[in-house]
Assembly symmetry: C2
Homo-oligomer: 664 residues x 2
């Protein structure tokens, strides 16, 4: 009991956000607000005060904001985050004797009771506040305390003074916090660039960008392609690995076990005599070319994202220089990757349990820092779930300590808890199961989990309908309508989304074989030539959708996502809204790429900020059509061959005759 202060009577618990008991930071983007809620209460019936305090990690001084009581012992406070990096926050609550006294005085006065002694109690409380104040305020408080105690003055006048807002405000600004309870932990929020929350990615193989068939594309060719990518409205151009590619066990076309001399190999078979993860594949160009590409891309509003794939071809310099970083088999060979009985002899995984793991970690960090120095700020990390969690937490922490604007996207297609853990420990964005969500109920459940539970505090979804590894069954059979549909879903369900092009906009749907999600003639193993000007290309449709995203803040974050019931299982309906400026988007998607579907949507008007008795306008930003609706029940019909979706901007207030000056 010696160290206990038994008079700390306030309790603080149930704090949100608090990830795993404060083990991990919550995530926000710059300019956002951190809303903190907690259960705060005390014994008995005394009034409480509570503050939320916050500071940038590198600062010492706290800034305090008052918390407000909501309901059922729940309190809320909020602070803005305006700088990249870490912020700390904590909570403080205390029993407020003056507030309690003031409340009770009002009740007693109202009941006509004599409050002579109560006024003396108040005088004491105010003079205690005076002792905590200085200068003029101290004098003012002393004066009020004295006035309250002048028993010869009329009680009514003294009660008026005691209950005045002026007295309350000044006493409140000198609170008695001797027995304040501080929440036991300091919590952390990490602040990322806005692009962490809102981004449109385009993945493209540089080597397939050559103007002529049979040629190996270069960074210069990619430069020429920038305006094409930018015209579709993307803001991140993600390049698969640009490093030298190994020869040993190099894969041929369609993942053939052996390559011909003409085969370029897989971009993920990293490392050759030319170099490893810090080198550039010579057929793409020089470091200088690469840096120029970064600059040119920037001019078009595009950030170039690189691939971080920590694995080696047998020809990688590490294999010779750092055999200790690999697993050596009893026969003296290096252990290749395997998923028994499958063997991947073109890939040597790094052995993270080796004795020299510290050197390995440092080297891997230096790879990222090397590209950061070249100007890269976004990394898509290949298979992070096959390297130790502790490594990622350390590496990302180290990089972001000096470069808090760096974004890491986790390509972890694995079990949900593993994906969430990677997000918690530092990945800025994460791939999701979006590609394999098909039914209305699947979408509702999964995206409710991602956007309406604690998951959203640390897991930022990035939605990809396809990748070089993922050609889902639905894309194989649905033709152009399904590509339009999946694009709208990805781009409106997710503030972050991406496509792998030009396969996507050209509706490439041929699998290597039936039942496979691999592309036929995949770019992973060969150079492809794409006809970007094909009349059926979706480039303009994609451009329109990305323009809608840019013009509507509602689509630039995910937390407001709400699903609305429909009476047809093929019609998915959801909305997003931004508060400032007022912006509401309502999306209805026909989930069938084959048939026209119609039905009734049952809108949650509250979620849309609408009222039942007033008509409102919905404006289809895809087709430019306008409809007048009223109430929650509205009819929809969508022909997937024309337009598989509505993206409605909802305009809450429409003019009626009552708006005319001369109405009545």
């Amino acid at each position: 009991m010696k160290e206990l202060e038994g008079r700390q009577r306030a309790v603080i618990e149930g704090v949100k956000p608090e990830i795993d008991g404060g083990r991990f930071p919550a995530k926000r983007a710059i300019g956002e607000t951190v809303v903190v809620e907690a259960d705060i209460f005390t014994d008995g019936h005394d009034e409480l005060s509570a503050v939320l305090r916050y500071r940038r990690e590198e600062d010492e001084a706290w800034t305090e904001v008052p918390m407000e009581f909501l309901v059922n012992d729940r309190w809320r406070g909020a602070f803005p985050v305006t700088e990249l990096g870490f912020y700390r926050y904590g909570l403080l609550a205390w029993v407020n004797a003056f507030k309690t006294w003031r409340r009770d005085l009002a009740k007693k006065t109202e009941a006509g009771q004599d409050v002579a002694v109560d006024l003396l109690v108040g005088a004491r409380l105010i003079s205690e506040a005076a002792a905590r104040a200085t200068g003029g305020q101290a004098e003012t408080l002393k004066g009020w305390a004295k006035a309250l105690g002048v028993t010869s003055d009329p009680q009514a006048a003294r009660v008026r003074l005691a209950l005045s807002a002026e007295v309350a405000a000044m006493v409140d600004s000198h609170p008695d916090r001797r027995f304040a309870t501080a929440y036991g932990k300091e919590l952390t929020v990490v602040v990322d660039p806005v692009r962490a929350r809102f981004s449109a990615w385009y993945e493209m193989f540089p080597r397939s960008c050559a103007p002529k068939a049979g040629q190996h594309g270069t960074f210069k060719d990619v430069e020429a392609r920038l305006s094409y990518v930018a015209s579709m409205g993307f803001d991140v151009l993600y390049l698969p690995p640009i490093h030298p590619i190994g020869m040993t066990y190099r894969k041929g076309k369609n993942n053939a076990p052996s390559a011909t001399p003409a085969d370029p190999g897989s971009s993920w078979g990293i490392g050759s005599q030319e170099g490893g993860h810090k080198a550039i594949h010579s057929q793409l160009g020089t470091l200088e070319d690469f840096r120029r590409l970064l600059a040119k891309a920037k001019e078009q509003g595009l950030d170039v994202a690189l691939d971080v794939a920590y694995q080696c071809s047998p020809d990688h310099p590490y294999v010779k220089e750092h055999r200790e970083w690999f697993r050596i088999r009893p026969d003296g060979t290096v252990q290749y990757a395997e998923n028994p009985p499958k063997k991947y002899q073109d890939i040597y995984p790094l052995e993270f349990e080796n004795e020299q793991w510290r050197d390995l970690w440092e080297e891997l960090k230096s790879v990222v820092l090397y590209w950061v120095e070249q100007g890269v700020r976004i990394f898509r990390v290949d298979n992070p779930h096959t390297k130790p969690f502790a490594f990622w937490e350390w590496m990302i922490g180290e990089v972001r300590r000096d470069h808090p604007d760096v974004i890491f996207l986790a390509e972890a297609f694995t079990r949900p808890k593993v994906m969430y853990r990677l997000a918690k420990l530092g990945f800025t964005q994460s791939y999701t199961y979006f590609a394999w969500r098909y039914s209305k109920e699947d979408f509702r459940q999964y995206f409710t989990e991602l956007t309406q539970t604690d998951v959203r505090e640390y897991f930022r979804a990035n939605l990809w309908p396809n990748t070089p590894d993922i050609l889902t069954e639905t894309l194989q059979h649905g033709g152009r309508p399904v590509f339009m549909q999946r694009l709208v879903l990805a781009a409106t369900l997710g503030a972050n989304y991406g496509i792998y092009g030009p396969a996507f906009e050209l509706c490439e749907g041929r699998p290597r074989e039936a039942g496979s999600e691999e592309y036929l003639d995949s770019e992973k193993y060969e150079i492809r030539q794409w006809d970007l000007d094909r009349p059926d290309s979706l480039k303009e449709f994609i451009g329109r959708v990305n323009r809608i995203r840019r013009e509507n803040p509602a689509l630039q974050s995910d937390w407001s996502l709400r699903f609305h019931p429909t009476d047809n299982d093929q019609l998915l309906c959801y909305s997003k809204r931004a508060d400032d400026p007022a912006n509401v988007i309502l999306v209805i998607v026909n989930l069938s790429p084959f048939h026209t579907h119609s039905g009734w949507v049952d809108l949650d008007l509250d979620a849309l900020g609408l009222v039942a008795d007033q008509p409102f306008q919905v404006h289809d930003l895809l087709t430019n059509a306008h409809y007048m609706w009223q109430g929650s029940h509205n009819y929809i019909q969508l022909n997937p061959h024309a337009a598989p979706a509505h993206i409605f901007r909802v305009r809450r207030r429409t003019r009626t005759e009552k708006d005319f000056d001369y109405y009545l």
Copy 2:
């Protein structure tokens, strides 16, 4: 990075039970099992092993039990708690190289691959295990390692050895835990007596136990009443405060502001010249009488519970001896209790913010310890939510450190989070909102929250249909049927329940005034004479219900509670089951005390351990009627004037002709 061990690749998170990040212990009763679950995973595809370890708090050595993989990275382990007091538990997980190797060897062998090198890898792993073993096991392991490496022996035979269960078991018993991950916290479970989980309370005013009207009852009179209480099947006899009662501002009948000399005063107006919380009201008897009552009660299987009401009448010795423990007003008077504009001048609350709070805490603890020394083991604590949380946590912790069999019931009728906090910090049982739950949906929601969420880990509900302070509206109007109905609900929804009698069994339903929940002529302010032999007394019905509780383990805990749909809002249906011995109870209650209701129940057969295609028997333990049912859909009709409920024992297997020896 210096202090980091980067090779600890296993992750442990999402541990349950873990109350508020380990801040509070989970609760169990003696003989129960602590089932611990956690998300445990690692990077990549390696196999894991995990153990749960536990120890009594006072022991140093851990006992380990293996954890088993469930699904979706969830693991489970369990340990029994066989002693009162605190247990600690923790988790440990590690990447198991041998298990991984063995799994992969099996896959490769199955695919017909050459595994020559793999066998050498295995030999290395087994000889590493040998180095961790001693004596004969070390020798055996060495032998196996050597055998695996004899390349001249046939591969098939060596594979058979490598994959043998014998090798797996012995290697597993010498695991490589160098890089094991320990969960960051040691967690705690507190083990209480079985009565903490399963108890039937009877509250009774000793002063109303005199054989003749107008007399003040004594402990001896209570002794004479013991067999009556025991015959109804109760096991806790709870007495309102037995201490001297103050004279100043003593309340008269029906809470009249002033008392006549004949009025006995409120039992909660504690303290007079006779003494305070450690004294006995002289009209009840002596300390010796009280101790004899405890002994006599014990003979009847009854524990006597005392009331702990930390408040004072103006005549309490503390007021003179420890004025510093009270709030002194500027006019020199002691602050009485108030809830403005209401004043309770007969009660002085203790001022916990006083400078001498340490002395006050010690004194209050000594009150409980005093009665513990007299043999009391159960305390019902009056209004704990009006005293500081920190005090309770300290006081209960202190008392239970030496007396872990002591039970504290929190009488906190307040907001839910306050009630839950009191439970977390140490109260063994808690009053609930049961008295104010009326509709089917209310019951389902509230009792699902209490029994199927984390709340159950620390909050043990005790259900009271009435108390001296609570005569709910439904009891005022429903007559005998509603008392029967509420008794069945309390006694079967809650393994812990209680009634305030004889008011309850005599169906006392007269309120002091319309709209009030106070009893007319409340025993709080006067001595009552009850005719226990009235023919309409529920004593036999109560006895039957308590006998059913004692004979059916299903009703002795709450965690198995499940609600089953019915097609009539007045029919509430739920079940409980105990695994050992197999015991399933199905309760259906007509929530209307006025009308016969019928309808269909839609049983969750899984929850009952039944199968759809086999008939089963339900045996009404209240009426002794038997019914044969099959499938989930069954018809119910209940006349509240005859029996407001069924309490069915479900017998899963019924004999059919197939059970005869000569059937086919």
